[in-house]
Amino acid sequence: MSKAFEDDPDVQLMLRVQGGDEEAFAQILRRYRRPVYNFILRFLQEPGRAEEIAQDVFLKVFQARRSYQPRAKLQTWIFKIATNASLKEIQRRKQSWGLEVPLGPRDEGEAPLEVAVDAHLDLLERLERAEIEVLLKNAMARLPVKERQAILLRKYQGMSYREIAATMSCSEGSVKTYIHRAKHRLQKYLRPKVRPPVSGGAKLSPARVPGESV
């Protein structure tokens, strides 16, 4: 076992699963069901199918328990399985329907959401949460697959570039490019709908400082 991960409580749980401990598997399930489900849901934007695929992910974790080797965080391993399962679903859709973009919500025919964003005001006071979600889902659905995966893992799982690279089986440099492009595309799509704050409204310092947990 790699020294870096031997104290990880998740790794300890997985090693117990290897030994046939069903309760340990139930604990992993409780800990990861929500993030895995939400990752797949945001990626595919189809709740029913996302639930089925999320269940399959945990069954694959169980099936692969004997070959599991703690070379990385358990989170990375589980999300690697989730990432592959999501990609497989995209491939299946492309073969079945000739679709690349998942069937997410569309805003055709709706008036564009003109949001005056001020850095000092809470967005939720300006817009209904549901409206923002529709806006974001449409923007996310337009991203290429790799960029969508990278930004979801970064934003909602709080993964470092190294962890994302391990999850997506690519280099850290590629992750940096995916995230930069994804943010650029999101901004490009959202810009006509969301007016940026007046220059000088946003702080120039980062929200976090080195050493803080991501």
Binding site: V117, K183, A207
Partner: protein, 170 residues
């Protein structure tokens, strides 16, 4: 760093995942470069918007469904331990059997062809006797083979052709 490098590093800057010196370099750059500052501000707005995409909950029976399927898998897996070892090679064995069959057929086919070439078709006894009789008749009377032909068939032949013009041969 130039503007391009600064902009591609803004996500790491936002996360505080860089050295103090690099962070300070970017901060100073953002104060002086309007274009990069706008990029930074737009990125911050996008990031805040993504914050507002709330988590959803999986169905209430999610865990129960997974655990039930897991137990089924575990039961199948333990049954699988009792299967003989060669059983897992079943597809490979089938393929090997088909290959052996193909090789065997391809090896036997040439011998069948040789056997067919060596077969001599022997005329039946009646035909053989008729042939011998015709040859003997020809040799003894210096007649042509046509003269030894059965009479009724020769007659029919003459009627149809109007007889053979003898002068044609002289």
């Amino acid at each position: 760093m130039n503007c391009r490098e600064i902009q591609s590093s803004l996500d790491l800057y936002r996360g505080g995942e860089m050295s103090g010196a690099l962070r300070e370099e970017i901060r100073i750059h953002l104060e002086s470069c309007v274009h990069c500052r706008q990029e930074w501000e737009a990125g911050q707005v996008t990031w805040r918007l993504l914050d507002s995409w709330a988590d959803a909950s999986p169905s209430e029976d999610f865990d129960q469904t997974v655990l039930a399927r897991m137990r089924t898998l575990a039961a199948e897996s333990s049954r699988g331990l009792w299967q003989p070892r060669w059983w897992s090679w079943k597809p490979a064995l089938g393929l090997a059997a088909v290959l052996v069959l193909i090789v065997a057929i391809s090896l036997l086919l040439p011998f069948r062809e040789i056997g067919r070439e060596m077969t001599v078709s022997v005329p039946d006894d009646q035909l053989w006797n008729d042939l011998e009789r015709m040859m003997e008749a020809t040799e003894s009377s210096s007649l042509s083979v046509y003269d030894a032909w059965p009479l009724e068939e020769t007659t029919v032949l003459e009627e149809e052709t109007g007889g053979i013009d003898e002068s044609m041969g002289s």
